[in-house]
Amino acid sequence: MAVDNFPVEYSHIMMFARSVGDDNPIYHDPDYAKKTEVGSIIAPPTFVQASAQFDPDYPLRPKPGKPWFGSGGSATGVKKEAAGGDGGGNGGTLHAEQHYEYHRPLRPGDVLSATALPGKTWEKEGRRGGKLLFSENIIEYRDQKGELVVTARGVGVRTERPADAA
């Protein structure tokens, strides 16, 4: 994933916090936030996951005029073979692990870029048979000054059948 321009915005933080059930005013009330240790609205800990919104090629977002594998008139908009690695047909890729290192809190007004570093891949036998293929991705999020703000390491697992647990 490469994202050149990920503006951290107040309303996006508010919506993201709502979606994880977090009503902490630090995510939506600037007057409250001013009086706290951090001194302003900040983003919740998993917020950089929303950088997907700013990845022009992100595969898990429907795009105008392009096939989409979710249901419409029929149960899937594309044939299994064409569905690619994410959720098409049995199995698909699921999120197995996520790790963050925080170098400083993110604030509205920050403009981040994300750079992917090479990660490892490995294989394991699933608990109920079938191969599990793991792949790691490391993403460095830097701010408008080029300083590292968050390091993210994700592990995806590709299963040969619907996962019981991934």
Binding site: H12, M15, F16, R18, S19, V20, G21, D22, N24, I26, T36, E37, V38, I42, P44, P45, T46, Q49, A50, A52, Q53, Y58, L60, R61, P62, F69, G70, S71, A75, T76, K80, D86, G87, G88, G89, N90, G92, L94, H95, A96, E97, Q98, H99, Y100, E101, Y102, P105, R153, R161, P162, A163, D164, A165, A166
Partner: protein, 139 residues
């Protein structure tokens, strides 16, 4: 609110209920906010008929995000230095999740007092759905 190193004996725990009877609508809300529109999370027809799961299920990152609230409510805003998890079981609509952070170690590094925590999120059947760790600055 901040934690004091002196008030954090090893084994000290903080618990919180993350969600009761998880609704499909909340999963939709997370899809919209995060930008992850994988139909496995929001499109029951695709997920059951094509992908072969019993129903849609939550993004792992929704569970991690909800678990993050438990952590920041405990350690304070802007205090986390590390947070990492493994998703050990799927989370389904209707699930009720509880999370717990347990103090592993309190130490000093680079002039900062830090706490290492073990983090576990469990469903209504006692099954762990998320296991991980966090680290935070304390006073």
């Amino acid at each position: 609110m901040t934690l004091k190193a002196s008030d954090l004996p090893v084994g000290h725990t903080h618990k919180a209920r993350l969600v009761e009877d998880l609704k499909r609508t909340q999963i939709v809300q997370y899809a919209g906010a995060s930008g992850d529109y994988n139909p496995l999370h929001t499109d029951e027809i695709f997920t059951v008929q094509v992908a072969g799961y019993p129903s849609v299920f939550a993004h792992g990152m929704l569970t991690m995000g909800m678990t993050g609230k438990m952590l920041t409510d405990y350690v304070g805003d802007g205090r986390l230095t590390k947070f990492g998890v493994r998703f050990t079981s799927q989370v389904w609509p209707g699930d009720t999740l509880d999370a717990v952070a347990t103090v592993d170690k309190v130490f000093e590094e680079g002039g900062h007092k830090l706490v290492d925590l073990t983090v576990t999120t469990t469903n209504q059947n006692g099954v762990d759905v998320l296991k991980g760790y966090a680290q935070a600055r304390v006073d």
